[in-house]
Symmetry: none
Subunit: 274 residues, 2 copies
């Protein structure tokens, strides 16, 4: 049975300069003080407690009282998480200005931004835990087997798509949008490649067909279309045949592995010499 708030000002590990403030069951006045310090020092703030939330902006929302987790980051972003669900119930992207006040023992925090003009207001009438952190995070994040990685892999080794294929460009602007990879096959025909990281559906085929048609209206040269994906949806096979398009199995994992072997390759490096 501990009714007092607990505050620790220093962490005992890693670095001396790495303050940590933790309040347990603080009253609003105590909490407000800690929040102000957190804002002043651009720290990360976590508040767990009973609150209601109002959002006004592009839309409007109201969240009736309940116990939730609020995270306020130093970049001006805000997250309100309920006890369930992967997505935040309310949020605010980076770039907000935070405000805090203690109004009749209710801790009110506001995250406001312009463009678009919107705000999230959180009012805590009870706080289980409030902590202020200085998060040092320089670790690199790398995602493998993204669509971009597949694109890189095809540019790195065009033969994986088709023997004799030679890329000319990538993300090339064609009337309706951007072609993933664009090149010439062993017979000198133009080739448009549409890449999908997972099962390619009809929308991928239609997109490819659109590009092909756009090119045909502008050029008399023969154009082929190839859908590069690990799998195609079941109706899509017939669609490809009907539209005269090709399909090539490409494994995203193998692409990722290939890139790992030839590390630090940038997309722009490929076509430079050609």
């Amino acid at each position: 049975m501990c009714s007092c708030s607990f505050i620790s000002y220093r962490r005992n590990t890693l670095r001396d300069r790495n303050p940590l403030t933790v309040l347990i069951n603080p009253i609003a006045a105590e909490a407000e003080k800690a929040v102000r310090v957190a804002f002043l020092h651009r720290r990360t703030l976590i508040v767990v407690g009973r609150c209601n939330v109002i959002y006004k902006g592009r839309a409007k929302s109201k969240l009736e009282p309940g116990e939730r987790i609020a995270i306020l980051k130093s970049d001006g972003s805000l997250l309100i998480h309920r006890s369930a669900g992967y997505e935040p119930v309310n949020w605010q992207p980076p770039g907000c200005i935070f405000n805090v006040r203690n109004r009749k023992d209710i801790l009110e925090i506001e995250a406001r931004r312009q463009r678009p003009r919107e705000s999230v207001e959180v009012a805590f009438d009870n706080i289980q835990l409030l902590s202020v952190h200085d998060l040092t995070d320089l670790g690199e994040f790398s995602l493998y087997a993204s669509e971009e990685d597949m694109q890189k892999a095809i540019l790195l080794d065009p033969s994986m798509l088709e023997e004799g294929f030679e890329p000319i460009s990538y993300e090339k602007k064609i009337e309706p949008g951007f072609v993933d990879v664009y090149g010439i096959d062993m017979n000198g025909k133009l080739v448009v490649v549409e890449i999908k990281r997972k099962t390619a559906g009809k929308e991928a085929v239609l997109q490819l067909a659109k590009y092909i048609n756009a090119i045909r209206t502008k050029s008399t040269r023969e154009v082929r279309g190839i859908l590069a994906a690990p799998r195609i949806a079941k109706d899509v096979q017939r669609m490809l045949v009907t539209l005269g398009l090709g399909y090539k199995f490409v494994d995203p994992k193998k692409c990722a592995e290939m890139l790992r072997r030839s590390q630090t390759v940038k997309l722009a490096d490929f076509l430079q010499d050609s």
Copy 2:
């Protein structure tokens, strides 16, 4: 300079049964114990500390060591948040199975799910804060405009319902209850409007029909009924046709925007005059 872990087992407010566990700078063994208890009791877990994260599944990702916030919810969802950004750097949707172990003073937490088969592994080599919460959250979340806002918007701009429509009254008492909006169309016919904030089901149609019938028993004038909602349930379309009622798509979001705009417009007009 406090190097001890701090544990509070009871919250002093709201309810006696509402345990809260907080560990500050715990070693992996202590943390592991608390995490196991949290999993066992299906509690919400927050861990702040230095970790690296590996994701394997639809794609693959690796996050090099840094200080982050991890949230594990009782529905089996996981979030890893860095010091910046609105989106989690790594996550796992609800339905995961969590595992924890202490491996050479490293706290390893795994969130695994099938379909799609994927896992996120988090390894903490230092923990600033670990807290376990029992979040009671029954508060309702309502998005977009309220039904009242939609009503206001229709009164403000009746043409959004139908060209030439002119409201006479709102919340008018008719035998079974109160009609949302009541007016006259361009041909002089009476119009009863039933508003729903979200998908209109059969109960909305029946309510509308009741009002119409009530009016018809009292007046010889022609009466039309219009259901105003962002969407109607699938069987309701036929029901409307059968009962000779109309439907008008009304977007609550647009209503909210309109009200907001009208406020600013009024303000602007006021300022222009001066």
